[in-house]
Structure formats: C-alpha cells, structure tokens
C-alpha cells in the first residue's frame, strides 16, 4: 500500500489545535504540500494538457481552501481532492472542446521530462502513452474511478465517500471502466505486437 492511504492519512500531527466542533482540518497549505504531486498526476491522467496542469492544480487547492480545508471523514484527502479535480478537469475539457483543441501527448512528455533517456525511461514513456491512450477512451467519471483504484490504489469506500455516490456505483463504474480500458489497450497492443490481454472472468 502506498503512502497516503490508511494510516498515512492521519492529519492530526499535533501541530494544529483540535477543534472539537469541526474535527481536525487539513488546510490548503498542508494539503498542497502533501498532495500537490498526486493532484498533478491525477489531472494529467484525466487528460489535462501539460500546459494547463499548473493552473488546474492551483484551482483544485483554491476550491479546497474555499471549502474550509479537508475534514477527516469517510473520504481520504486524496480522494477528496480528486473529486474536486474531476470538476476542474471537466470545466477545462468543456472549454477546450469549445476551442476545438484536441488532447495532445504533451502531458506524457511532461510526466517523464527531466529523466535521463535510459531504456527504463523509454519504456516508461511507451507505457504511459499506451495507458493514457486507453484511458482517453473512457469518459471522465469512469476514468477517475479507474485511475484512483487501479493506478493510485485508493480504496473503493474512500472513492465512494469523496464522490458522494454509493459504493455499488463505484464498483459499477470500475466494472465498465476496466472492460473499456482492457478493450482499448488490447486494440493498441494488437496494432503494435499482436498481443491481446484478457480480463479475468467475472470482472
């Protein structure tokens, strides 16, 4: 399990006075330090172009600030921020559609920018490109659920709480997202290597 889940999300580090009425809050700066990198990655995987990532990250944390910071509950800080990020990405996507701009691969390049062009970096770039292309076939809510669960390793109950949907809805979104993702990935793989991945029975 990655940092940022489970015990990693305890926010009362003793440096903040406890507010019994509203429980422990994690303010915008603390959230930013701990989770800005995650939010940037999440926005990128949602399809936000690299040129818009900085602004989108700022918007996410401005909204978090305006909402009074994170209050511990069923949602975790990362899933709570992710739910905000989906709205921000949605607004950005609408604007780009109106401007008739298409998603480009700049986000993928940015993701590995600065890394030396080792074989490993090249493999990572190819993996990112394949995965991102498959992700782009999903609509935003399915993509968000898929990224949070499959890539970011967030638990379903935290996703459900953050997006204010029943956990069954999260399962359903994951079910559809996985099928679409695997199909899209298979199509990409067939084009490149003739390998068709399969999805486990019952998933």
């Amino acid at each position: 399990m990655k940092d940022g889940r489970g015990k990693g999300h305890q926010v009362n580090d003793g440096s903040h006075p406890r507010d019994p009425a509203s429980q422990d809050r994690l303010d915008a700066a603390a959230l930013f330090r701990a989770h800005a990198g995650f939010v940037a990655a999440f926005l990128q995987r949602l399809g936000t172009p690299a040129a818009d990532i900085d602004d989108a990250v700022q918007d996410v944390f401005l909204v978090a600030h305006r909402k009074g910071g994170f209050v511990p509950g069923a949602a975790q800080p990362r899933t709570w921020l992710a739910a905000i990020a989906v709205h921000i990405a949605q607004d950005g996507n609408r604007a780009r559609r109106r401007r008739r701009e298409l998603y480009d691969a700049s986000a993928i390049d940015a993701a590995v920018a600065g890394a030396p062009e080792t074989d490993r970096a090249i493999d990572a770039r190819k993996s990112l490109a394949r995965v991102q292309q498959a992700l782009n076939t999903l609509d935003l809510e399915h993509r968000a659920a898929f990224v949070l669960y499959e890539i970011e390793d967030e638990p379903c109950d935290a996703i459900a709480a953050a997006f204010e949907v029943p956990i069954g809805t999260v399962y359903s979104r994951l079910h559809h997202a996985r099928r679409r993702f695997v199909d899209a990935y298979a199509a990409l793989s067939e084009n490149s290597a003739g390998v068709r991945p399969k999805l486990a029975e019952g998933t």
Binding site: P17, D19, A21, S22, R25, D27, A28, A29, F32, A36, G37, Q44, R45, D54, D55, V57, Q58, D59, L62, V63, H65, R66, G68, G69, V71, G73, I84, I88, D91, R94, A95, R98, R99, A107, A110, A111, V112, A113, S127, L128, R130, V131, Y149, E150, I151, E152, C156, Y171, L174, R178, V182, Y185, S189, V195, R196, P197, K198, A200, E201, T203
Partner: protein
C-alpha cells in the same frame, strides 16, 4: 458486488498490461511543489489584506495561520484554520478573500508565471501580492457587477421572498453596472473555465448579504443553483439559503431545506450552523 482485484495484481490479465500499469503507477509527473505553494500563498495573501480591512458586518476578520517558513505576508489557510473558526464561519469566512483571489490574485500570479519561467518562490510571492493588491479593487467591482446582472435576471421570479426584503435591497440594483474587464488576449471561449471563479465570487456576495439582506441573499442563492448546475459550491450556497430563509422568518421552508441539507451532506462542515437553524426554531 465487491471490489474487483486490481488489474495489476490480477494474474488473469496479460502481463504486458499489468507491467504498463505498474510503470504508470510508479511514475510521478514532475511538479514543482515549492513554486506551486508559493503561488497559492501569494494569491491567498493578496486577497486576505483587503478582506480584513473591510470586514463584512458580523464577520470575523480573516484569521490567517502562517505556513511553515512563510513570512507574515504569506498567510495561508485562513478560512481553514481550526483556531476559533468553526462551522459556517470556518468554511465561508474566506469567501470574500478567495473571490478577490480568484479574480485578481490568481490571474496576476498566472500572468507572472507565464512571463517568468520558474521564478524564486519568495520573489514570486511578493510580486504577485503587490500586483494583485493593485488590481483587487477593480476585480471586486467586476464581481459585483456580474452578480448584479445575474441577480436582476431572476428578481421578478422570487416575488414572495422579495416582498420581505429589507430597505437595503435596492442599493445594489441602483449601483451602476460596470462592464466586465477582459484581458485583450482572452476570448469568451477561453474564459469558460472561469465559471468556477464566477461561482466563487457569487458565493462571496451571498455571504456578504445573508445577515443584512437575507432576501437578496436567498434570491442570489437560488440564482446560483440555477446558473451553476453541477457547480462545486452548491453545498455552501444551500447552507446560506437555509440561513437566509430562517432570518426571513420562512420557518417551514427553512426547516424543510435544513433537513434536506443534513440528509444530503451529513458530513458537511456547515452541518452545525444548519442544525442551529432547527434548534433555534424548536426553541421559539
């Protein structure tokens, strides 16, 4: 139905796909947290100063908490700080500040970021704050005019509440409506993401009005619900609508909407204030 196994842990899934997902999960895009945080601090600080100088009646001054090594000007998390700020105040006290930040601080900071690739955090913070302060007044005026336009469009449809309005109601509608300033390089389409900023600004206006002119605050909240369907701040707007209804003496409606609010947002930071409406009503 239960949670499916993660694809990258599922041996039934092709090795290539699992390997790709694993690489992606292990890859974090480069992001300059220090520069980003400096921008956030600068934007919030730029808005905090004018907001604290002109407090809204009944509103506590913005209590800022320094973040780490930030100087006194680089305050962050004012509305989020737990020290003495609870419930609705904690959640909404920074609304005015964030509205200004949205309309002035952020755009200024972003303009600086575009012009100055990766400036030092401290220098950026100061520059952004100074520039944002210089622009905050005009930005606030634009926010007001946008709100006035939006509100006037629906004033007639809220006649029942209108009848209970206070004398202060006509003041804003009598104020001159100023055209919204648009940066020359921006088009109407490129401003589309600013819907969020308009929503924030509108919420700030509702917060300002809720104590002194609850009828207008209520109408504006209703307008916001219609204008920002699927918006991010519906919860906060609805809480203010409940408070406004209670202040107007619309007890039955306030109670109904308070119950709906608590059912829909059981973990809301605004829960205590909305519950207080029910308690006050029961004690009368």
């Amino acid at each position: 139905m239960k949670a499916p196994p993660r694809l990258l842990n599922d041996p039934a899934v092709a090795t290539e796909l699992r390997a790709d997902l694993e690489r992606v999960a292990a890859t974090t895009p480069s992001y300059d947290v220090a520069a980003g945080l400096a921008g956030l601090q600068a934007a919030i600080a730029s808005a905090a100063a004018p907001a604290s100088q002109t407090p809204v009646a009944g509103q506590e001054p913005l209590t800022a908490r320094s973040a780490g090594a930030s100087g006194p000007g680089n305050v962050v998390g004012g509305s989020a700080g737990p020290a003495g700020l609870t419930g609705l105040k904690a959640a909404l006290i920074g609304v005015g500040a964030v509205a200004l930040l949205s309309l002035a601080g952020v755009s200024t900071f972003r303009a600086l970021r575009r012009d100055e690739p990766k400036p030092a955090a401290a220098a950026l913070s100061v520059s952004a704050r100074e520039s944002a302060n210089a622009n905050s007044e005009s930005a606030n005026a634009n926010s007001e005019s946008a709100t006035a336009n939006s509100e006037s469009a629906t004033a007639n449809s809220e006649s029942a509440i209108h009848a209970k309005s206070s004398p202060a109601q006509g003041q804003a509608s009598a104020a001159p409506i100023q055209p919204t300033t648009v940066e020359p390089s921006e088009t109407a389409e490129s401003r589309a993401p600013d819907v969020l900023r308009r929503e924030i600004a509108q919420l700030a206006r509702i917060k300002q009005l809720v104590d002194d002119d609850p009828a207008r605050a209520y109408r504006l909240a209703q307008t916001g619900h219609r204008e920002f369907k699927g918006g991010m701040l519906r919860q906060e707007r609805e809480a203010l609508a409940v408070l406004a209804l209670a202040k107007l003496g619309e007890t039955a409606q306030a109670r109904t909407r308070a119950h709906d609010f608590l059912a829909r947002y059981p973990a809301s930071p605004l829960r205590d204030r909305v519950q207080a409406v029910l308690r006050e009503d029961a004690s009368e």
